[in-house]
Symmetry: C2
DNA sequence: ATACAGTGAGAATGTTCCTTCTCACACTCG
DNA sequence: CGAGTGTGAGAAGGAACATTCTCACTGTAT
């Protein structure tokens, strides 16, 4: 039907998206050229453009892909940390601590991307807003399950604290903000529990 | 001695910095060209480069200037909102509400800038980190004065919540995150007051 | 009045990309 | 085997932009 030569379409897409993630997240969108993506993925420029007709298309595909993988990782990591008896909403801070401590950490890829105005259009902004909305929704589900008496604003507040920690840990290159964030969340959860 | 032709050096610098602020904050650094700055400020390219030998130099001057003006505005705005009897740390949320509600709001200029990796170097990152450190220090001073019994992590926690609100209000183009942030801070201040 | 120092306007330079195109090759299908 | 399609490698086209340079002018100081 349409078997490819050196690499299947799926393979090429997967390699491109994996490379795009390392590059776009690690260096920022504007600092990454299409040739960089080719070099790291091994997918030729010609094929790259046949898969993603423009850099903006590639960026959109990357953001969607990163949303999927990040949310999967996050929910799994939270579940794992909550399984030891820790409050699930509080466990979100333990979950992200691993990430923030990793050497590749460079803040939240979505928050970073939306600041690169010359690389981003409304399509991208929609994906980014959806990502943050989904995060809040997940936190809301955890709150409904474990904190049924908590106020309606709690999930959004936890999300705000998480985003603030992402940002400050990147700016200060330290996990100290995360610790303060977790203590604040802990305090909050204790007083809204009653 | 050295009187200029059309405009004094001080005038030119002031006009350039004012224009740079509108442009860099409003559109992002990469999306603004030196010619844009010339057009808006009325300062010729030649003079622009004699004042700031490179775009990176101009960006550094802008960040320093914005730090000064933003902190002045912020401390004054907090003081004004706190003067009516509101807790000073809580008043920070009322203070930034005006800003976030204004049509020019586009998130925190420092958080946005640090994400534009191809426009930013270590000199800029230092200014940005200092800005956030100064903000925390100011919050710490307010805490020492009004909440002497509060835990040491409180100022950093408030700063995290503020930054998270800055980011989410920009992403969602809404002040809803700020409301959740303020409620969380309120809860926090009440329980750490005792 | 004249030489000079600084300036505005904007052209010229050099670089960095995104995107497209060329050419030769590999593999499929008849 | 022979035509045709898809591909890799990388050159070529074109646009945007930071930075420098040219040229003519203005105001100052001798």
């Amino acid at each position: 039907m349409s078997p490819a030569a050196t690499m299947t379409v799926d393979d090429a897409q997967q390699r491109v998206l994996a490379s795009a993630d390392e590059l776009f997240y690690g260096r920022g969108i504007a600092a990454v050229t299409m040739s960089d993506v080719r070099d790291r993925s091994g997918v030729s420029l010609r094929r790259l453009y046949s898969l993603y007709p423009s850099k903006k298309d590639l960026v959109a595909a990357w953001l969607s892909d990163r949303h999927d993988t990040w949310m999967s990782w996050f929910t799994a990591s939270v579940a794992r940390h909550a399984s030891t008896g820790t409050d699930a909403l509080l466990a979100t801070f333990d979950a992200v601590e691993e990430w923030i401590n990793s050497p590749v950490y460079r803040g939240c890829g979505f928050i970073n991307s939306i600041a690169e105005t010359s690389e981003i259009d409304d399509r991208h902004r929609t994906i980014i807003a959806s990502h943050k909305r989904d995060l809040i929704n997940h936190l809301a589900a955890l709150a409904t399950r474990d904190h049924p008496a908590s106020p309606a604003w709690l999930p959004q507040a936890i999300a705000v604290i998480l985003d603030g920690a992402f940002v400050q840990c990147a700016i200060f290159n330290s996990t100290e903000p995360l610790r303060a964030a977790k203590l604040a969340a802990q305090q909050l959860l204790e007083t809204t529990k009653a």
